[in-house]
């Protein structure tokens, strides 16, 4: 069955429907919202709206004309989209034309009072008022203001009493309003204008606002038809006695203020001109077309005669604890009567937060100012300070039935972010608390020692080992032996502050325009013995990284500020309240232009490959950090927002919670002054990034009112329009960098020329590995190992046992005399035998031990960092042909550069390739990089197979691609090497860039 929803307006439309089916047609009604100004606010035959209908006899709290007008303004402000219409109605007891006109005039009068149109009001009063109107108004003024202007009975006769009352009224009016009306006994135009001012004052009072505030309310009014804001319906639409002529009915005599939602506005074609009403064309009161819902009106207080109280002004907002709230009030005739000042909040229970019985001096007739420090005397905030979350607060001045109210707020101003301390008091744990003291010290020294007191992820063990590995006294070549135990040696080093290093550059913490580096060690193979020999076993870098490195820790903290009375940023930590601070992070797009360019002289697929990899596992713009499945922490699922944060109570005193609905974590501001005085009014979190080079993060903290029962109001007070407009602070960009260094250049002999270090530095820089090449030491081989050491090595490792024939030469590794070429020995065979003798049978056998010896000399000074050794295989020798002529003078038979364990790179100076390529290549081996395509070592999956110019390939070989010819192509690390250096798990990366 089909369903069609229409309104009465659609009745003229044609609907075509299939005849054989059942169709449902639903007629919906338009919705109106109605306030009613009842008949008793008008005297018979008068259009003057009376402010109160029941002077002297009514209830203290009652609905008056002014309360209705105030309710209408409040409704308009809280429903700004709704449009209004004022409709006047009469009963059928008189002539219909008369009734029509009167209803229009009454509607116009209500509109004038409602919108503050003094001219329209006075004009109307001039033509359609009666003596009893101003007699009743004077009574109202007497009662509400305490002025001596009671005219006597409302008899519609302007006698002496009325004249006197008018004179007294004008006198009092002139005094209060600083005017100079002629003090006469007549009710003239200026008298009506003065009455109008008091109407406004009364409406403002009901709205608990000032005259200026009242104007703001009125500014929010919108009308169905701005050119026809009122209609007079005469007797057309009675509430009772429909169709009965001559019926006197107070219920039918009324003025209605109507509101309509957008799209629900009535058509006003039934009023083609003023004082015309075509009831048959009306849809507004046709119940089948419109339904009107009453708007509730709260009864307002009506003061006793001769007494008055008025809150003249109150600060809109203030910063408790830093300044006081000023409440200016005026009292009259309340001496000797109890006058109470109360501060309340809708968030508090029924008990006022603050109650003060005014003292005698404070309640004399006249002007006073009360200064409140913002400290409640009761309720949940007793002895604390009020804070923004319970806004708006209300100050109420009350005496008997007299009451005046004013609203004020406490507002947040801004956030300031900083690097937080490791402990809540910023103090080192006592040394007796050994474990936490060590964690604290390691953090202070830049070794990511883990959350102090709350280490749930064994940060400390890893950090201790990294510290030992980096420490001269505790460094062991075989880190297999490292234990995460806390030794006296460790404690002494930590106490001395040894090895202090920058873990995270500080600028981006506070400067959103800055970029700072978060440092992570670029580990090299460390274990070199037995089955655990990483260099030979070529273990997976990502796995080793994860096992050895801690994720960097960045404690972040925001200080929350309040708005002062002058809107200045004000520190008021005791008045911040438990406001929720969201902690968010952004993953910025990588700048791929930092990667090698694909040029004819230097073909490179690195950029292409990396671009492809960054899009893996849900990656792409705004999400190109290394995904979790490839070794990073980016998690493409809904929980990614949690990735770089510790949750729970890891970072005391902040409790980080998860808001899955809004995909954020948050930590409420600390309010526990007694326990955490230094953290008061702050929120904090412990960020833990990935260890992947190139990953970047920008952090944001924001004040969020989600979960507060008055969320909408709080957002309004703070100008929130969407999540982006929240009060926030953001850091600059933090980018992960791996770091290592070249500690030593050992010369056996020294290389002539140079200048390659910057190229090497830049090659690794493209993979976010910062290789410090500026602080290396240089030494001759004989400065690091002795001849005896060398002889011992040769004797132990090679077949050469005659010490007398072995010497440590400064210019070549081979330490024995070279065999002479045989007379019948061909040049090719002699070369090959020299190569075997000095290579396979010598250098290959002693290289490990030479590294050991070098490490023994170097590591006590430089625990970590590369040791790059330049060397020549043997001394140069002439090679002859079998005919005795020289085939090659100064021959050196082989060249082999290689990487060794413990960050050693052996660089053969005869190597024909560009030095930066060779050094970069051999150092790459220590960074877990394996050979590429044209070597004998072809492990699957380690390289971009479509990139034939990887540094990790051999440059010259009898097979493979013709690339990297020295002087022709400049090689670069392929995309897979690049990502592996960053820490990506290359086993799971695609095989090529195509």
């Amino acid at each position: 069955m089909s369903e069609t929803r229409i309104t009465r307006r659609d009745f003229h439309l044609l609907f075509e429907r299939q005849t054989t089916a059942v169709h449902k047609i639903v007629v919906t009604r338009f919705q109106g919202h109605r306030l009613e100004m009842e008949d008793f606010h008008f005297h018979l035959d008068s259009a003057v709206l009376l402010p109160d209908y029941d002077i002297g006899e009514g209830a203290a709290d009652r609905i008056t004309a002014l309360t209705v007008l105030a309710a209408g303004l409040a409704h308009a402000k809280t429903n700004p989209a709704r449009k209004a219409l004022v409709a006047g109605h009469a009963d059928s007891s008189g002539a219909s034309d008369y009734n029509l006109k009167l209803s229009q005039q009454r509607a116009d009068c209500v509109l004038a009072c409602w919108t503050g149109d003094k001219v329209a009001y006075t004009n109307l009063c001039a033509v359609r008022s009666k003596t009893e109107d101003y007699q009743q108004i004077l009574q109202w003024v007497h009662q509400s203001k305490g002025w001596n202007c009671h005219p006597g009975p409302t008899d519609n006769v302007h006698g002496n009493g009325t004249s006197t009352a008018l004179k007294n009224f004008k006198t009092a009016y002139n005094a209060e309003f600083s005017q100079s009306l002629p003090v006469t006994g007549a009710c003239d135009k200026v008298t009506w204008e003065a009455f109008f001012d008091l109407y406004n004052q009364g409406i403002a009072q009901f709205l608990a606002t000032s005259i200026e505030g009242l104007a703001a309310y009125r500014a929010s009014l919108r009308f169905v038809d701005p050119g026809r804001r009122t209609v007079g319906c005469g007797e057309s639409w009675p509430v009772e006695g429909m169709g009965v002529d001559g019926l006197q009915s107070a219920a039918n005599r009324r003025v209605e203020i109507l509101f309509f939602d957008p799209g629900q506005e009535p058509l006003l074609e039934c009023h083609p001109a003023p004082n015309q009403c075509k009831a048959t064309e009306c849809e507004l009161y046709w119940t089948k077309c419109f339904k009107h819902t009453p708007i509730p009106v709260k009864a307002g207080p009506v003061p006793a005669p001769g007494e008055a109280l008025d809150i003249v002004s109150c600060d809109d907002h203030f910063a408790p604890s830093a300044e006081t709230l000023s409440i200016a009030y005026k009292l009259k005739g309340l001496e000797g009567k109890p006058v109470t000042l109360e501060i309340t909040s809708p968030r508090a229970d029924a008990t006022p937060l603050f109650t003060r019985e005014l003292t005698g001096d404070e309640k004399t007739s006249g002007d006073h100012t009360f200064a409140w420090d913002g400290k409640p005397t009761a309720g949940a905030l007793k002895d604390l300070y009020i804070h923004p979350l319970w806004s708006p607060y209300k100050v109420t001045l009350r005496s008997g039935s007299l009451k005046d109210e004013a609203e004020f707020k406490v507002l947040y101003h801004s956030l300031a972010i900083s690097r937080g301390p490791w402990t809540h008091d910023g103090q080192e744990p006592p040394t007796a608390d050994q474990r936490n003291w060590v964690a604290y010290r390691l953090n202070e020294l830049g070794f990511y020692g883990g959350p102090v007191y709350q280490d749930t992820e064994e940060y400390l063990d890893k950090a201790i080992i990294r510290y030992k590995a980096n420490h001269k006294a505790m460094h062991r070549k075989y880190s297999k032996d490292y234990k995460a135990d806390i030794t006296p040696e460790l404690i002494a080093a930590l106490e001395a502050g040894d090895n202090k290093r920058v873990d995270i550059e500080p600028d981006a913490v506070t400067d959103p325009a800055a970029t700072s580096r978060i440092w992570v060690e670029a580990l090299t193979y460390e274990r070199t013995t037995g089955d655990g020999n990483e260099f030979r076993n070529q273990t997976n870098r990502a796995t080793t990284d994860a096992a050895r490195l801690n994720r960097p820790l960045l404690p972040l903290e925001v200080e929350i500020f309040l708005k002062s009375k002058t809107d200045a940023r004000t520190a008021a930590p005791e008045a911040i309240g438990p406001v929720r601070i969201n902690w968010k992070h952004t993953d910025l797009d990588e700048d791929l232009t930092l990667l090698p360019e694909d040029k004819a002289s230097s073909p490179s697929k690195t950029r292409k490959y990396v671009a492809k990899a960054l899009k893996l596992r849900g990656g792409g713009p705004g999400a190109d950090n290394c995904p979790r499945s490839l070794g990073g922490i980016r998690n493409p699922d809904m929980t990614h927002y949690q990735a770089p944060w510790f949750q729970g109570g890891i970072y005391e005193p902040y409790q980080v919670e998860d808001d899955a609905t809004h995909k954020t974590v948050f930590a409420k501001a600390c309010t526990n002054k007694a326990k955490y005085p230094k953290r008061l009014g702050r929120s904090g979190i412990l960020a833990r990034t990935s260890i992947i080079g190139g990953d970047d993060y920008q952090f944001r903290a924001e004040i969020d009112f989600t979960g507060e029962p008055n969320q909408a109001e709080l957002e309004k007070f703070h100008g929130y329009t969407d999540a982006g407009s929240r009060i926030h602070v953001r850091t600059g960009i933090f980018r992960i960098w791996r770091r290592n260094r070249v500690a030593y250049e050992v010369n056996w002999p020294a290389r002539s020329g140079g200048g390659e270090w910057d190229l090497i530095h830049n090659e690794y820089k493209a993979a976010y590995v910062d290789l410090d090449v500026g602080s290396m030491k240089k030494a001759k081989i004989s400065e690091l190992i002795t001849e005896k050491q060398y002889q011992d090595i040769v004797i132990a490792r090679t077949a050469n046992k005659d010490r007398t024939k072995i010497s440590l030469k400064e210019n070549a590794v081979y330490g024995l005399p070279l065999p002479a070429q045989g007379a019948k020995e061909s040049a090719r065979d002699y070369r090959a035998r020299l190569k075997t003798l000095t290579g396979d049978n010598y250098w290959s056998l002693i290289a490990d031990s030479i590294v050991d010896a070098l490490a023994g000399a170097v590591r006590p000074q430089e625990p970590v960092g590369f040791v790059v050794m330049n060397f020549l295989a043997h001394e140069a020798v002439d090679v002859k042909k079998v005919d005795g002529t020289i085939a090659e003078a100064g021959h050196i038979s082989w060249t082999t550069s290689f990487g060794m364990a413990d960050s050693h790179a052996m660089i053969d100076m005869k190597d024909p390739d560009k030095v930066y390529y060779v050094v970069g290549h051999e150092m790459g081996h220590n960074f877990y990089l394996r050979h590429s395509e044209n070597t004998g070592d072809k492990p699957p999956g380690h390289h971009d197979t479509s990139d034939h110019n990887c540094i990790m390939a051999y440059s010259s070989t009898s097979s493979g691609h013709a690339h990297q010819a020295p002087g022709v192509f400049e090689p670069h690390l392929c995309g897979k090497c690049n990502l592996k250096l960053r820490g990506w798990d290359m086993d799971k990366l695609p095989g090529n860039s195509d």
Partner: protein, 472 residues
């Protein structure tokens, strides 16, 4: 075409154990001398492409491949040019033993091509046809010593006293220093090579010398070879009565040649010098060995190094006056000893124990004090039915053992560290397996159609397998 390149062969019909020797002649017809690649350093300018009978390329060799197959250092691709005068052809020989392993049985053509920078048109020879015949290997002895270079000599024996001597670099045994067919010794037996008992560094000449010893009836004969070619130095002597020739011997830098016997009646090892005048007893050492056939004896600088089956594996040192200097039990095993190898220059000893009972168990031991004072030991229960007629093993410096075994069902398996046995070949009566694991793993074995060769096994390749250097 200004240049002509001619290719000829010393023999057009060879066996799977031979290495072709090719003769190249380069000439030109121009008036002025031309620069051509020097045969002593041609930078890979000369390539020789082999095609099978169907014309399909089989492999391409060059001086670059020669380097790659014989040593581990980086290939030197430097090219030297030398002038070639008009009418004075340049002739040189290429010994393919150095840059290729023997070809499998079949018909082939070889084409030489010379191409070098500056010469636009490569110079190519006419194809040269030749045939490779299969040959049945009867025996293989392997000797490793280190007079100046670490060398591995293979003595390959076929029927009718046909012998080949092939010398390899144990660090890269893919190309040979040489591979020569020796003069036939019909009716002889018990051929073996003596090992150098000395080390010097002044000359490579000792690396090229090998004493070959053999039995000819009641005579023991020996001859000195230089790169597989006979020299004038030969010796003979009457075999002593009642002694078992151990097929092991050694010689000094002064070419004093010693051979070893086991005298079962006295339970002792005896050493005799084979001099020009005949055999001369030198010394004897009583040894409590259970199976003298497993004794391994090496001599270095006057000290005898002996390893053999006694309480597992025991090692002795002795001098040439008959004194036992020291005795050390290296490893005790409940399994019987099957093979032992010694490298006295490194004090290195490897041994293999195995039992035939199910489950077939192999225990491998390597003592190499350069890397670890205590022996590396690996015991494996193999998922293969024993007994194993042939076993060969080597270990690398990390103590990882690589094992080749043959089964009674004529299958050859490689058992890598931690890996299941991998079938390499089947159907052969004997494979004469040999393993070298200096870092890379080289597996040597014989097949009738392919001869004997070492091949590089890449366990980290995907899939694991032999690395070929076909260079096509």
């Amino acid at each position: 075409m200004p240049f002509q390149l001619q290719l000829a062969a010393a023999a057009r019909e060879i066996t799977t154990l031979d290495s072709p020797q090719l003769l190249l002649t380069l000439s030109h017809e121009e008036d002025q001398p031309r620069l051509v690649p020097s045969p002593s350093q041609d930078g890979g300018a000369l390539t020789i492409l082999f095609r099978d009978a169907g014309g399909a390329p089989v492999r391409r060799v060059s001086s670059l491949l020669e380097q790659e197959l014989r040593t581990n250092a980086r290939v030197d691709a430097n090219l030297a040019l030398e002038p070639l005068a008009p009418g004075q052809p340049l002739t040189w020989t290429v010994n393919l033993a150095k840059c290729m392993w023997p070809l499998a049985a079949g018909d082939y053509t070889a084409t030489a091509t010379l191409a070098w920078p500056g010469e636009t048109n490569p110079v190519a020879s006419a194809p040269l046809a030749f045939r490779v015949q299969p040959v049945a290997l009867d025996d293989l002895t392997v000797d490793r010593d280190n007079p100046i270079l670490d060398r591995l000599d293979l003595l390959l024996s076929a029927g009718g006293g046909h012998l080949w001597l092939r010398q390899l670099n144990p660090s890269k045994p893919l190309g040979a220093w040489y591979n020569e067919a020796l003069p036939a010794l019909p009716g002889t037996s018990n051929h073996f090579c003596a090992a150098a008992a000395f080390r010097q560094v002044e000359s490579f000449a000792p690396a090229m010398h090998r004493w070959l010893v053999w039995q000819n009836g009641a005579l023991l004969q020996a001859a000195l070879f230089e790169e597989g070619r006979p020299t004038s130095d030969s010796r003979r002597g009457q075999l002593p009565v009642g002694r078992q020739l151990l097929r092991q011997g050694f010689y000094t830098a002064g070419n004093q040649l010693y051979v070893l016997f086991w005298y079962a009646a006295a339970g002792r090892l005896e050493c005799c010098e084979l001099a020009a005048a005949g055999l001369r007893p030198v010394a004897a050492w009583p040894l409590p060995v259970s199976d003298p056939g497993l004794l391994v004896v090496r001599c270095l600088d006057g000290t005898l190094h002996i390893a053999g089956p006694h309480e597992g594996l025991t090692r002795w040192t002795a001098d040439l006056s008959g004194r036992i200097l020291a005795s050390t039990r290296i490893h005790a095993s409940p399994l019987p000893l099957r093979a032992v190898a010694l490298q006295p220059e490194f004090d290195r000893c490897t041994a293999l124990f195995s039992a035939a009972e199910a489950p077939a168990t192999v225990e491998m031991v390597q003592l190499d004090p350069r890397y670890q004072p205590e022996p590396f030991v690996s015991r494996r229960e193999l998922s293969l039915p024993g007994p194993f007629p042939e076993l060969a093993m080597d270990a690398d410096r990390q103590g990882r053992f690589h094992l080749l075994i043959t089964t009674l069902s004529r299958e050859l398996y490689y058992c890598g560290p931690g890996a299941e046995p991998r079938l390499l070949a089947a159907g052969q009566e004997r494979y004469f397996p040999s393993v070298l694991a200096p870092g890379q793993v080289y597996l040597g074995f014989y097949e009738l159609t392919a001869g004997f060769r070492f091949r590089q096994f890449a366990a980290s390749a995907d899939p694991p397998g032999f690395l070929e250097y076909r260079n096509l």
